[in-house]
């Protein structure tokens, strides 16, 4: 790490607090690591989380996301929300709605929570409950209504993939009926469980084109002054330039996992040879500004070709380090989504596989499968 790099470190504007890996659902595209079962009994305490919030706020963090797992599982969630609001954070709860009830929505409102994002797995009970691995659709509907009853701004999030993307029009319609302020059609990103299940989840090109058109048609039909906003991003596998992942490593985003590990994104824990620091041993400031892990891919000096001499490197930062590692074996390589990458054919191969008739079984995200994967890995 050089002095020059250090002086350029900006504040971590976004702090994502993964409060727990516990979750009543089993979504096969979960971004949690597949070996999450290793860390389920080492959760940070209320006091430890509040210290993390204080330290990150001092650095300039403004957005705080409560995530998981399912964050509502934490009985101290209201206490954490109150502390975060007192510190001046804009507080976001990212929940499946399962495990929530009307009185917790009310107590979260009293605690000062600013916004709730409720995820759905599909627009119909049958598909939703199959993907979630639990009967949950009706309860989600109830919770979305409770969120609006208590006048929270509400984002409804659908993770889209091969199994549900054909019903994007119904997802949009349902969201409108439920009074969503924002609709997020979040294409499954192929990390963690989603990478494991990629061949079953990657949509075909035809599906991608259909979904994009459905979004554009829906937007066009909204009344001129309708404040409803739809976010939809084409899966990066179907682009020929990589996404500016996290706006660059260690630029604005900091994740703290249930056991206190600090990461530049949800997925980085899998990268080898990086010793990710823990908030139990170090302050957030020391981690953000001085740790080798957060400095590893900051700036541009670490880049090999074709990124090093690429005129677009300041726009996309060479894409995603985790995707580069998973598909090429070296996290410093160009994200193979980029057509300039010598490994770009791996993306083409995955897309070609997606065109095959589906017969691939999915591994659902649950502690039993996580433990099985840990055993298989050792």
């Amino acid at each position: 790490m050089t002095e020059v790099t250090e002086s350029k470190v900006k504040p971590p504007l976004w702090l994502l607090a993964e409060l727990t890996y516990k979750c009543p659902l089993q979504c096969p595209y979960c971004s949690n690591p597949t070996d999450f079962a290793r860390a389920t009994d080492r959760e940070l305490t209320t006091e430890e989380w509040i210290r993390v919030f204080e330290e990150a706020r001092e650095l300039g963090a403004t957005q705080l996301g409560f995530s998981g797992g399912e964050p509502i599982v934490r009985q101290d969630l209201e206490e954490l929300v109150t502390a975060a609001r007192d510190l001046g954070y804009y507080t976001n709860l990212i929940t499946s709605g399962v495990g929530m009830n009307r009185s917790r929505v009310e107590s979260l409102k009293k605690a000062g929570l600013d916004h709730i994002q409720v995820s759905f797995q599909a627009s119909s009970a049958e598909l939703n409950d199959w993907i979630a691995g639990a009967d949950s659709f009706e309860h989600k509907l109830e919770m979305a209504r409770a969120v609006k009853e208590f006048e929270f701004p509400m984002v409804l999030c659908f993770v889209t993939h091969r199994k549900n993307v054909d019903s994007v029009p119904q997802m949009l319609e349902l969201s409108k009926q439920l009074g969503a302020d924002y609709i997020e059609l979040a294409t499954a990103q192929y990390y963690g469980w989603a990478f494991l299940n990629r061949d079953a989840l990657l949509p075909t090109r035809e599906q991608v084109v259909f979904a994009e058109k459905a979004v554009n048609d829906f937007r066009a039909e909204l009344a001129e002054n309708d404040p409803l906003k739809v976010f939809y991003v084409v899966p990066d596998y179907y682009e020929d330039r990589p996404k500016p992942c996290m706006n660059g490593w260690g630029d604005v985003f900091l994740v703290v996992t249930p056991d206190g590990t600090a990461l530049p994104c949800h997925a980085a824990r899998q990268l080898p040879d990086i010793d990710f620091p823990n908030v139990r041993q170090h302050s957030v400031g020391a981690i953000w500004e001085h740790s080798n892990a957060l400095n590893k891919f900051r700036g541009f000096d670490w880049m090999p070709e074709p990124c090093r001499s690429c005129p677009e490197k300041e726009k996309d930062f060479g894409g995603c380090r985790c995707q580069a590692y998973m598909l090429t074996g070296d996290a410093a390589n160009a994200d193979p989504v980029c057509s300039k990458s010598p490994h770009h054919h791996k993306i083409a191969e995955a897309i070609a596989a997606a065109e095959q008739p589906e017969s691939v079984p999915m591994t659902f995200r649950n502690p039993a499968n996580s433990k099985r994967l840990i055993r298989a890995d050792s």
């Binding site: 504040p11 504007l13 001092e58 650095l59 300039g60 403004t62 957005q63 996301g65 001046g88 804009y90 976001n92 600013d114 916004h115 994002q117 006048e151 929270f152 701004p153 984002v155 302020d181 924002y182 001129e224 002054n225 404040p227 906003k229």
Partner: protein, 94 residues
């Protein structure tokens, strides 16, 4: 969207959106679900003048006190507020 507002309308920061001063950035920011925008001085002055009581014309008058009698001021303030409404960060009564 191309929102048009009238000078007698009252605008205010939309529900769920927060305007606050950030010490580290030494700037006013707007915070909304999962996002933030850092405001320059003029933008923050206009938004801070939206007290839910004063109408747009009175906000313009307030800005004139601070920024002088520039001819385009009315238009600039209205245009800025319309763009904020289009983003969903400001709401306006009918």
């Amino acid at each position: 969207m191309n929102t048009v507002i009238d000078k007698c309308q009252v605008c205010k920061i939309a529900p769920g959106v927060r305007l606050q001063f950030e010490k580290v950035q030494q700037a006013w920011v707007l915070l909304y679900p999962e996002g933030m925008v850092t405001l320059d001085e003029v933008a923050s002055d206009i938004l801070r003048a939206l007290d839910g009581v004063r109408n747009t014309d009175e906000v313009v008058t307030e800005m004139r006190k601070q920024y002088g009698e520039a001819a385009e001021l009315d238009e600039d303030v209205l245009e800025f507020l319309c763009s904020m409404i289009d983003q969903g960060w400001v709401r306006c009564n009918d």
